[in-house]
Amino acid sequence: MAQIGSFALLLALALSLYSFLAGIVALVFQNRPELQTANTGRGSSLANPSATDGSLGSMLRQGSERIGETARRAGIATFIAVLLASVILVICAFHDDFSIAYIFHHSNRDLPRPYKFAVLWSGQEGSLLFWSLLLAAYGFVLRLRYKTDPRLFAYASMVIAGVQIFFLLLLNFAAHPFALMQGNLPADGNGLNPLLQYPEMVIHPPMLYLGYVGFTVPFAFALGALIMKYPGEKWINITRRWTMVTWAFLTCGVFLGAHWAYSVLGWGGYWGWDPVENASLMPWLTGTAFLHSVMMQEKRGMLKMWNMWLVFATFWLAILGTFLTRSGIISSVHAFAQSSIGDWFAWFLVITLAVFVFFFFKNKSHLRTEHKLESLVSRESSFLFNNLLFVLLCFTVLWGTWFPKISELVQGNKVTVGAPFYNRVAIPVALLLLILTAVGPLLAWRKTSLESLKRNFMWPSIGAILVAIFLMIAPQSWGSAFGLKPWKDVSYFYSLMAITLSVLVTLTVASEFYRGGRVIAKHTGQGIFASMVQLTHRNTRRYGGYIVHFGVVVVIIGFAGAAFNQDKEQEMGYGDKMTIGPYTLICRSYTEDDAPNYGSQWAVLDVYKGGKQIDTMTPVRRFYKASQQTSTMPDIRSTLNEDLYIVFEGLNQDNGHPILKAHLNALVMWIWLGVWIILIGTALALIPNAPSPVRVPSAARLGTTQAEPVATGD
């Protein structure tokens, strides 16, 4: 089996190389001036393959088209070969084939079957194979859809083949997943890392990788469009949809990772600003900036160069994140073992940067446009500031991630850059971004009069201020976020600001839906809710985007809750009590258990609130036999107001009593709810618009004027 897998990987490399080189040959020939002349001067056309005039030019053209087609098919075959290699690795995991070193190091006989499937992405070599598989899958879809724009897709296919070659070179020569064990075969494997033996780990890495790898596609289109000097903005339409899908995967992956950290690591938090977490956040930030700035290019033909750089930066940061994870250059709890593949990634980063910079400067005149801005108070300016803040946040995260290394180079000693740094630097910028999220949608393209801005902004502002006052004066007993005294602590101040601005964004989004719905209701006689549904269907991208904004502020409210977190640690014998916030925990029992894969210790706690028993919780600590490692399984009782999060930390060696840590984490559920809303909004934005716009009679024009229901467009 291992030999078939190795052969499949070699075959995939050969196919990718062919796809890349043949793609270049085909495109070079198609771009030759004599062929262009043959196209225009003699009546034949690249777009018309049936035209044959027997000339050398025509023969060359047909030949290059055939080569191009074989390149496309080789790209499709690459996917089949990589898929075969991946399937073989999974089959080997299911058959406990410990002759393969990768399976020996990441699986064991008693590992539950779903985790045996997850072995594919649980270690360095497997995850690189999985990366390659996803890239090949994206390439496969792209090459099947080539008829949308054959030439642009041919360029994009060539770029994807180039990236694919890098990963296949790595798999074949640096991190071979089918490498065999030396000497006697072991009876059992080392087992999967206990922290990865959690249901979410079966879906978190695929989602994250779909996001990371997916950004190769927009980059491929962008580089293709840059090389071929693509006329018009169609490529950006194609790219935008791919970016949205990829962005949704990355969002999902990032938050699944946060949820996994929260549910498994047992320290009570969901985000530790670890370099590997930061690595996933950086492309997300630039990708989000691109999704906003791309509208400037579509609507106004502006920011063409900037968008090119944003697409490239997003792809590059995804690779940089992988470099950080794999090279061991920056210490992280997540990082894979330090290995030589860091050098491969470093070279790949340099080469991609060099290629992009070369073509950018070669063809940048094609991207030059005459930008004209009518007013500072316009959608265009808001996007400029929005992009600045997203890119600045990304820079802050990058700076914080690399600062320990920079400090080591300058001062000779490392420093730690943890949560307190990011809280001080990133939160103010994020709050500014939240203000823009509230104001931006109220601004029209080109120009907005201050009166209309004031009119549209007044009621949401009053509403937000009232909510802030209410949060300050309401008694604390009402919930975690009530009785907020911003002068007591800077974290309370930030929380109050975040919640107030979130309310402001929510009210502006609601007012946008209401005003647009009212226009449709007036013209159609429908109810306001039906009108709002119709409004959303007519401009799914815009209103889907608003729903995404709403989801983001729900997530932010969840983050703001961190200021009110409490925790308490206590040793608890039978009948012992622990009180945290409104909850009283009584230890009913504690015991041990044994399963084939692990042994476990757990406590049974009765939870009381207001004198009434409301729940029984059972935090667990496991000892995994194969890997000889422990892992905690906190028990979490979630409500909208707060999470009661209990960790079984261990046993007191003297008296055998369990040591338990209880966290009261405010508003955490809002984060997970917000992510669902973001995904729903993104899915909505991907649905095509309903065809018929509203017809609005105008006295100043002859006949009728077709108008979008709301004047500001996307």
């Binding site: 700076w399 600062f403 000693n413 949560a419 630097v425």
Partner: protein, 185 residues
């Protein structure tokens, strides 16, 4: 716009009367007293908070890292039998109980465990760059965008085809208002 240039008061120059000036001065004094009281209260509240040993223990403990390699904040390290965090917490509690200042506690921890024990760079020496650079980038970015907006705004409008002229001024505003009314915005 200040009250002294309020057009609703007519073209005649408005001169405040003596009692009016006195009341303005009183208002100024009151405002300054209010600000002083606010500052004093904030300082008292801050100092009151900082003198509470439990609060100080929590605050400082969240500015430190556990050095066992778990990459967790000292007070969030949850390993029973962790070779480092229990001892570090006891040291911190002892230092806070002795009444050592925050900077003294930090210094003693840095001397014993090295600079990586602090969860964030200090505001001294080269470490300051960690905080300064992002804000410098922010201000630089704002400046750059202001410049870009100014340049784009001052650019002449593109020439239109024969017979057409670009709409400007009141005429353009009239069409904007009309569009606003027709779409109920």
């Amino acid at each position: 716009m200040s009250i002294f240039s309020n057009p609703s008061l007519g073209s005649r120059t408005w001169r405040p009367s003596a009692p009016c000036l006195a009341s303005f001065a009183r208002l100024g004094r009151l405002r300054s007293r209010f600000l002083q009281t606010l500052l004093l209260s904030a300082a008292v509240l801050t100092l009151l908070g900082s003198s509470d040993p439990a609060t100080r223990f929590t605050d400082i403990g969240h500015q430190m890292m556990c050095i066992c390699g778990c990459n967790q904040i000292l007070l969030e390290c949850n390993h029973v039998g962790c070779p480092a965090s229990d001892g570090m917490r006891n040291e911190l509690m002892a230092a806070v109980s002795r009444g050592d200042s925050d900077s003294l506690v930090e210094q003693s921890f840095v001397q014993k465990y090295g600079p990586t024990v602090l969860a964030a760079p200090t505001a001294r020496g080269f470490d300051r760059a960690a905080y300064i650079i992002p804000f410098v980038a922010l201000f630089f970015g704002f400046g750059l965008i202001a410049l870009v907006i100014r340049t784009w705004k001052n650019r002449p409008a593109p020439a239109l085809a024969d017979g057409l002229r670009p709409l400007r001024g009141p005429e353009l505003e009239q069409f904007r208002d009309q569009a606003g009314k027709e779409t109920d915005l």
